[in-house]
């Protein structure tokens, strides 16, 4: 059951670029597993290694215990949904779907039955005799998926399958993909740079950067408990706050002095000692921003700041609050609405408060990003002394 698909110390170099750097991970049978990362992080190379289009320089790939590293793509029980669909333009929708079975020389009746079933699955019986250039992007997408599914692959590889679709269609196809995965029960290996897609579809996500996997976990894990500053900033928005542990006031908690911000309380799951440097990720939605002072609570961090910028978006408002020498980005969900509530305005002095448990301690320091040659996203650029320049 476990480790249905296994990558063992796989490396691949293209010229001077180390596309995949000693990567090991495993995927369970029937799992929807995503490789998430920015372009050039090596996720597509991993997929191509899996499909057999590339050979790894080192390491091996195991499928159900069998080493498939040397098996050519046409003999692997693995099929791919390509980013631009790669439908054969000279064949009709029906012929495209039938391609895999034709190549396998299956009997005619079997092919016809299977193709009809697939057409029914994607509700495209009426388009069966059209060419790919006569159908829409979403329809092409569906044809590409069932064309890959008809051979009953053991693993279905999907290379950014929704990237070429517009937003509305992407959301619909997202549901459809989920549905198809539930129906066919095949293991899905899904490559994307879109954290939203990965979060909503996957059982587990591997976040990649620079040819390496930074973290593997269920969506909530990589969002709420990011291991590294890269994962924290790539998935969702965050505030990086770094400082030094000054005291351990109660079990499992530590007090951290943050230059230009003040003393804050933090959940100490990494067992840091006094004097250790720590780097925290504070998600914007974890903050409360109010005009009234909150009630005293030992586990609450309460700071005073000035609203620098406000973006109102209907269901939520984003506040950027200047606290000490730092700017903190916050996100306020509108759960209720009172006509007579006094709204927060620019330049207002506000209380910013959050639960000490909501901050998450990272394994690395944000400034280390630059030492590793990684440019963090623009929202979280840090200067050399660790202060945020802008959010």
């Amino acid at each position: 059951m476990n480790d249905f698909l296994e990558f063992k110390n796989v490396s691949k170099r293209f010229g001077t670029v180390q596309a995949v750097d000693n990567v090991s991970f495993s995927v369970k049978r029937g799992e929807f597993f995503s490789l998430l990362g920015p372009s050039g992080c090596g996720k597509t190379t991993l997929l191509r290694l899996m499909a057999g289009f590339e050979q790894p320089d080192n390491g091996s790939i195991l499928l159900d215990g069998q080493d498939i590293t040397q098996i050519p793509p046409n003999q692997r029980a693995v099929n791919t949904v390509f980013q631009n669909y790669a439908l054969f333009p000279h064949l009709t929708v029906r012929e495209n779907i039938a391609f895999g079975l034709r190549v396998a020389r299956r009997p005619r009746q079997e092919i016809d039955a299977a193709v009809t079933e697939m057409l029914k699955l994607i509700q495209m019986e009426d388009k069966a005799d059209q060419r790919p250039n006569q159908i829409s992007g979403g329809q092409k997408q569906r044809v590409a998926i069932v064309r890959a599914l008809i051979n009953r692959p053991r693993v279905l590889l999907l290379d950014e399958p929704l990237a070429a679709l517009d937003l509305k269609l992407r959301q619909r196809m997202l549901l459809e993909l989920d549905l198809i995965h539930d129906q066919v029960g095949i293991t899905f290996l899904y490559v994307t740079h879109d954290q939203g897609e990965a979060m909503s579809l996957s059982d587990r996500i591997a976040v990649m950067q620079g040819g390496k996997i930074e973290q593997i976990g269920i969506p909530a894990e990589v969002y709420e408990a990011p291991k590294t500053s890269f994962v924290a900033s790539f998935i969702g928005d965050t505030n990086f706050v770094d400082g030094t542990v000054t005291a351990l006031p109660m079990p499992n908690y530590c007090r951290v002095r943050v230059e230009g911000l003040g003393e804050i309380l933090c959940y100490n799951d990494k067992q840091k000692a006094v004097g250790d440097r720590v780097n925290l990720s504070l998600r914007p939605e974890k903050f409360h921003v109010t005009l009234e002072q909150p009630q005293e609570d030992a586990r609450l961090n309460v700071l005073r700041g000035k609203v620098e910028n406000i973006i109102y978006a209907g269901n939520h408002t984003r506040f950027w609050v200047h606290i000490g020498e730092r700017r903190i980005a916050t996100y306020h969900q509108h759960r209720r609405y009172h006509l007579d509530e006094k709204p927060i305005r620019w330049e207002d002095e506000v209380w910013v408060w959050w639960d000490a448990d909501s901050g998450y301690m990272l394994d690395d320091y944000a400034p280390l990003l630059e030492e590793r040659g990684i440019t963090p996203p623009p929202e979280t650029i840090h200067s050399a002394n660790g202060k945020e320049q802008r959010i």
């Binding site: 050519p72 790669a86 054969f88």
Partner: protein
């Protein structure tokens, strides 16, 4: 109104061009086949079927047959050689691709007649190739490399190959090679992906190549004249002979008309005959 006018004004030059330089000459050639010859290179008064009747001379069907056979074989060989070449050129690195395109075009910088003449030297009975092959015992002492139908064939392929490579390369360059990966991913061998995905993908380029090789090959007369023997005469040689030697223009026109009919007939069947006319039609349109 203005749009229609614009369409007419845009297509008018090419229409005039085709009418003046293609349609009218073709009609003239066909018409002149029915005029009597005056024996001095001109035409006599009135109309006659005499010239058409003289085409029944059994030597003509043989020559027409040889012309068609040589041209079709040339076309086939050119396409068979050009497809892997085009495939390779499209897949190779950019710098190599440019070099190969240049190398394909370079022969055009040398006069066509000079290049054919070079073959005459190369294959000369006292040339180094024949002597070399003789020394190696690969040919019999009485084997001639020059003035045979095979020589004509060789030089025809040589001189028409670039015309086949260029359109096939152009089509292959636009071909999405991910489609071949998709085919292999679905279980096809590399060869099957090549024949069932790549070849249909460049069908238009192949169609163009067939036409741009076949049509000039059918009309060739310099090559059989220079490197061919009496047994490898093509219809072009006969037309030239009737025009310049016999000064019998109607006869030359009748032969030309015969060639046109022999080519256009099957082509019409191909283009308008069956349902799979799409690509062929487009290629014809692209060339004419």
């Amino acid at each position: 109104m203005s749009r229609r006018w614009r369409e007419i004004s845009v297509s008018l030059p090419s229409l005039l061009w085709l009418t003046l330089l293609f349609l009218i000459p073709t009609v003239l050639v066909l018409a002149m086949a029915f005029k009597p010859s005056d024996g001095y290179g001109g035409m006599g008064p009135g109309w006659t079927l005499e010239t058409i009747r003289s085409l029944r001379n059994p030597s003509y069907p043989a020559i027409i047959g040889r012309t068609l056979g040589l041209s079709l074989l040339t076309t086939l060989l050119c396409v068979v050689l050009a497809v892997p070449m085009g495939y390779y050129m499209a897949r190779t690195q950019r710098i190599w691709r440019q070099t190969l395109v240049l190398l394909t075009v370079v022969p055009f910088w040398i006069c066509f007649v000079v290049r054919v003449f070079a073959w005459k030297h190369l294959l000369h009975p006292d040339g180094f190739i024949r002597h070399g092959l003789l020394a190696l015992g690969l040919i019999a002492p009485d084997t001639m490399l020059l003035y045979t139908t095979g020589t004509v064939m060789l030089v025809l392929v040589y001189s028409h190959l670039p015309f086949a490579i260029l359109p096939i390369f152009a089509a292959a360059e636009k071909f999405d090679f991910q489609l071949m990966e998709a085919a292999m991913d679905l279980g096809a061998t590399r060869w099957r992906a090549f024949t069932h995905v790549f070849l249909p993908g460049i069908a238009r380029g192949i169609g163009t190549a067939v036409l741009v090789v076949l049509i000039p090959a059918l009309g060739s007369y310099v090559i059989p004249d220079m490197v061919g023997g009496t047994e490898s005469e093509m219809i072009g040689n006969k037309i030239a002979q009737r025009t310049f030697g016999d000064r019998n223009l109607p006869h030359a026109c009748a032969l030309a008309a015969l060639l046109t009919v022999a080519v256009l007939g099957p082509l019409m069947v191909m283009v308008f005959g069956k349902g799979r006319s799409g690509t062929a039609e487009k290629s014809v349109g692209g060339v004419v």
